[in-house]
């Protein structure tokens, strides 16, 4: 039975990757959005290196957060419209585990590439080299939390009037702790270099907490949305 669930989870994960792979543009869109937003800032603020450096951690993290928020729509919406979600609810396996598999796939396709690309953008934004390691680690710890928390509003707003943008409204306030500690960690290591460990371990704690309740909450939300 357990092996069964694992196979099913692996298949859901694989299906998600396959679908995203087919929508080849989608694989890179969260990424491209991240790149574009970080590029817009120097354009809007002006090119002074010092000013840029001051805001760099914040801008990079806000951009990552917005990119994740936008891609949340794709987590369930198309499956809802074509009826695949109905079928997922009719699967013989615990819904929360299948949802967890979907979230994992979502992170692999949005958060992970974004974290891996961030050093490049950090250099553009004049972030000191010593802070780049922290940036990557903070994104690796923070983006899965964003996906996990974000899945709940994404599931709640399915089929709801104005669903798409409503998600951002519901999700962004919930994201504040991750944003604060993510950006602070980077800023701290750009400055004195210590203190960032404290922030990073807080991010880790958030991730653990989100892992424990988000799959449950979002599968409950899916059942409500399809009622």
């Amino acid at each position: 039975m357990t092996a069964d669930v694992l196979t099913a989870m692996r298949s859901v994960f694989g299906r998600e990757l396959l679908v995203f792979w087919r929508r080849s543009t989608e694989v890179m869109t969260a990424l491209v959005f991240f790149v574009i937003v970080t590029t817009l800032f120097p354009l809007a603020i002006g090119p002074e290196r010092h000013e840029l450096m001051l805001v760099a951690p914040g801008v990079l993290w806000v951009a990552a957060l917005l990119a994740t928020t936008l891609s949340l729509n794709h987590l369930f919406a198309s499956d809802y419209q074509d009826g695949s979600l109905e079928q997922l609810l009719m699967s013989p396996h615990p819904l929360s585990l299948l949802v967890l598999a979907k979230m994992a796939a979502h992170w692999v396709l949005t958060g992970l590439p974004l974290a891996l690309l961030s050093p490049l953008l950090a250099v553009q934004m004049a972030l000191p080299a010593k802070a780049i390691g922290t940036l990557v680690v903070s994104l690796l710890l923070g983006t899965p939390t964003l996906t996990l928390i974000g899945a709940v509003p994404a599931a709640l707003t399915l089929g709801v009037r104005g669903g798409g943008v409503l998600v951002s409204l519901l999700v962004l306030p919930l994201y504040t702790p991750v944003l604060i500690f993510g950006a602070e960690a980077v800023a701290a290591s750009a400055g004195q270099g210590f203190a960032s460990v404290a922030h990073l371990s807080l991010l880790g704690a958030f991730l653990a907490l989100a892992l424990s309740f988000a799959p449950w909450a979002s599968s409950a939300a899916l059942r409500v949305s399809l009622d």
């Binding site: 509003p153 709801v160 519901l170 504040t176 604060i180 404290a198 909450a217």
Partner: protein, 245 residues
């Protein structure tokens, strides 16, 4: 459980609330009048701020109520979701706008107070920021309710959101405070708070009680009209409406 189901019947609650409302409203009125008297006349002007500090008697109770109302709202929502009790759904739904208006009042009065105190309407202080985020959470909750027409689905969906919010609120609250303290201190803070004397404390307590009873009264009033709206097709509401044309 049985008790809840007995008194949790919307019809029963409607009648019960009807008898309580005059009492709550009366207490609210008395508290407000005496609180305002104590706050505006009895309490002496502050030696630093003059009379400007009196806005505190509105600001502080509202700030407290804004947080309390969220917890109450989320508890109702959770009760309604887990045990499928409609009255709890209704109470959760009607407390959201109340909580949101407490939050908004706290924000506005705080800003107005900020101008004489700090020379600006807004700073990104921890307390202010977390209050603002609380406001967004309320708005999100109400927006979700508003965009689902089916009453039961709206109640369940927003209950899940409220529950997730309740897990998150302490985290948000403290992270904003840590944000403030782990970092270098902000240029402007609430450090120069007036030291609370009894002459200020008493009106403050009276005003807080006044707002609490105001909340109770409004909760009953709004719940009653929500019940009427939802049960408009049932016999007892029809009789009620026909009874007093």
């Amino acid at each position: 459980m049985k008790f809840i189901h007995k008194y949790g019947a919307p019809k029963r609650f409607y009648q019960l609330a009807g008898t309580f409302i005059p009492w709550f409203a009366g207490i609210t009125a008395v508290l407000f009048v005496s609180g305002l008297y104590l706050g505006l006349y009895w309490a002496p002007p502050d030696y630093q701020q003059g009379d400007a500090y009196r806005i505190m008697f509105v600001h502080v109770p509202n700030a407290w109520m804004s947080m309390m109302a969220y917890v109450i709202m989320a508890s109702f929502a959770a009760t309604g979701y887990i045990w499928n009790i409609r009255l709890a759904d209704i109470l959760a739904r009607v407390s959201a706008p109340l909580g949101a208006s407490f939050t908004l009042t706290a924000l506005v009065t705080g800003s107005l107070w900020g101008k004489p105190m700090w020379g600006t309407y807004w700073v990104w202080d921890a307390r202010l920021t977390s209050e603002l985020i609380l406001f967004f959470l309320y708005v999100g909750y109400m927006a979700l309710q508003a965009s689902i027409d089916d009453a039961r689905r709206a109640a369940h969906a927003s209950a899940i959101l409220a529950i997730v919010g309740v897990v998150n609120i302490p985290i948000i609250h403290y992270s904003v405070y840590w944000w403030h303290t782990l970092h270098q201190p902000a240029s402007l803070t609430l450090t120069n708070q007036p030291k609370i004397y009894a002459t200020m404390l008493i009106p403050l307590i009276v005003m807080s009680l006044a707002f609490m009873f105001f909340y109770l009264t409004m909760l009953c009033v709004r719940a009653r009209s929500e019940i009427l709206l939802r049960e408009r097709h049932t016999d007892w509401v029809r009789k009620l409406v026909e009874g007093k044309p």
